[in-house]
């Protein structure tokens, strides 16, 4: 039997000393025990639908099985399964002890993943689920635990319904951002999604793109890969496409107040995307007169990245070059709890970073982005 019975004993408790502006974790994944957790907030009609058909992502598998099986069940750390039963991160008390208390987290941002209905083939179901998931966050996590903030889950393939959900939640300090998945059915900057960004900017909420979702297209622009290891690589490439689209479609020109946070997409790729955009924009400017600033400037002003998963160069100091190119104020600490590929806050950042930089990555930058 591989599951450890007392996992809380396996964590070495402690908060990084440099987190003097607080430790903010921008990526925690709360999980419902099952669809029944959402029932209080689903109509009869959508509850029946959920029983008969369930979530249908644009890939064909059912029951939460993904096209590429993950490395561990539910992609979770084996020590994160609560001893009282239930799936990882389904129990607030266990989350408090195993994660928030153990690492000294001052604020944790929740990014609920499947089953959330996001990206579902059925817009009506997706909208019903978004409402239910947002209510579930409030009742189960946000109201009982002041250290947690939630994300407004939206049915992003239906922009109008998404804007309505955002407007419903605007002004509620429990929510600190709008959540989308990184694989949308069309590139994220496409005008069909603009109502979402308008509503978010109006509400003063950043829009987070978290790795995953299923666009309905092959998982690479050259066809379907074979392996999970390729999918992990592909999260970075699809995020690169999203950044490109948001910039080139002029979303930030339209909405100067909009902020975008990229969560669990990696980050070391961002400078080369910015450089490539700048370079070729110079030659292709006439096609896109709506772009008034160099793409790299737009990225520098509007886009933040989270630390997890952190790329690992063969030569450690190379990562610092990249972080410097991105901007030390653009990087937000994240653990991705309870997934595997977890970074202990004390070990996550290169040891040679100066104190102020570590302080900002641990908490200062997130406080500014989210107004915490």
């Amino acid at each position: 039997m591989n599951v450890i019975q007392s996992p809380s004993q396996l964590v070495h408790p402690g908060k990084p000393a440099a987190a003097t502006l607080g430790l903010v974790d921008v990526d925690i994944h709360p999980r419902a025990h099952g669809m029944a957790d959402y029932k209080p907030w689903l109509s009869e009609r959508w509850w029946s639908y959920a029983q008969e058909y369930g979530a249908r992502a644009r890939h064909g598998f059912t029951g939460g099985q993904p096209p590429f099986p993950k490395a561990q069940p539910l992609a979770c750390r084996r020590d994160a399964w609560p001893p009282g039963g239930g799936t990882p991160a389904s129990d607030l008390n266990f989350l408090r002890g195993h994660h928030l208390d153990a690492h000294g987290i001052d604020i944790g941002v929740l990014n609920p993943l499947q089953p959330s209905g996001q990206g579902d083939r059925n817009n009506g179901f997706s909208a019903a689920m978004a409402h239910a998931v947002n209510e579930w966050q409030l009742e189960t996590w946000l109201r009982p635990e002041p250290r947690l903030r939630g994300s407004v889950v939206v049915p992003y393939e239906d922009a109008a319904a998404s804007a309505a959900e955002i407007r419903k939640r605007a002004g509620d300090p429990n929510f600190c951002q709008v959540l989308m998945m990184s694989r949308t059915a069309e590139p994220a900057g496409n005008p069909r999604y603009w109502p979402i960004y308008e509503a978010a900017a109006e509400a003063g909420l950043p829009v987070a793109f978290h790795a995953f979702g299923y666009s309905g297209w092959a998982m690479t622009n050259t066809g379907w890969p074979s392996f999970y290891i390729e999918e992990v690589s592909e999260h970075a490439t699809s995020c690169q496409n999203q950044v490109t689209s948001l910039v080139v479609e002029g979303v930030f020109e339209r909405l100067p107040a909009l902020k975008v946070v990229l969560i669990e997409c990696g980050f070391a790729w961002l400078p080369s995307v910015a450089w490539r955009l700048d370079r070729h924009w110079r030659h292709l400017k006439a096609e896109v007169p709506h772009l008034r600033r160099a793409p790299s400037e737009v990225i520098r002003e509007h886009i933040w990245v989270s630390t997890q998963p952190m790329e690992e160069p063969e030569v450690g100091r190379h990562l610092k070059d990249v972080m410097g190119w991105i901007g030390w104020d653009r990087i937000l600490f994240a653990t991705d709890y309870p997934h595997w590929d977890f970074d202990d806050p004390r070990a996550a950042l290169p040891a040679t970073l100066p104190e102020e930089t570590r302080r900002d990555i641990y908490g200062g930058n997130a406080r500014r982005v989210y107004g915490l």
């Binding site: 591989n2 490395a71 561990q72 020590d79 202990d344």
Partner: protein
């Protein structure tokens, strides 16, 4: 003294503290092995890791699966370690977790340890005592 032999059945493991160090004791078919609990990568707990077999391959599409239950993976980034030697799979020469000697002593002694691996992490040996079928690891 860390456990009764019966506490760690074949295929099982137990996390213990020995002189301030966390040590995981595994039972592989009656042979006992003990590894330091901290993954050399970022310190994840190997006691919480998945125990699995070793897969190698002579060619794409071919899977040679052996040594079921003799590899442990760190739960955080899934690095795999050979329970018998502490050596990591992807770079056995350079990365390994600390390995401790573990023995069962009860009348006839069971020598479960293999040769000490070379490299930056050197396994410590501990004297072992037996008392009524107890596994004893001394630090």
């Amino acid at each position: 003294m860390v456990a009764a032999v019966g506490d760690i059945p074949p295929g099982g493991r137990k996390l213990v503290e020995v002189a301030g160090r966390r040590v995981v004791v595994f039972n592989l078919g009656g042979e006992f092995f003990a590894l330091g609990d901290r993954c050399p990568h970022q310190g994840g707990s190997l006691a919480a890791g998945c125990v699995t077999g070793h897969v190698s391959s002579p060619a794409p599409g071919e899977y040679s699966y052996s040594r079921r239950g003799e590899m442990v993976r760190c739960p955080w980034h899934y690095w795999e370690f050979d329970i018998r030697t502490g050596r990591s799979r992807f770079d056995p020469g350079r990365v390994r977790t600390r390995r401790y000697e573990a023995r069962v002593e009860s009348g006839a002694a069971l020598q479960g340890a293999t040769a000490l691996p070379e490299g930056p992490y050197r396994a410590e040996t501990f004297a072992v005592r037996v008392e009524d079928n107890y596994v004893v690891v001394d630090a």
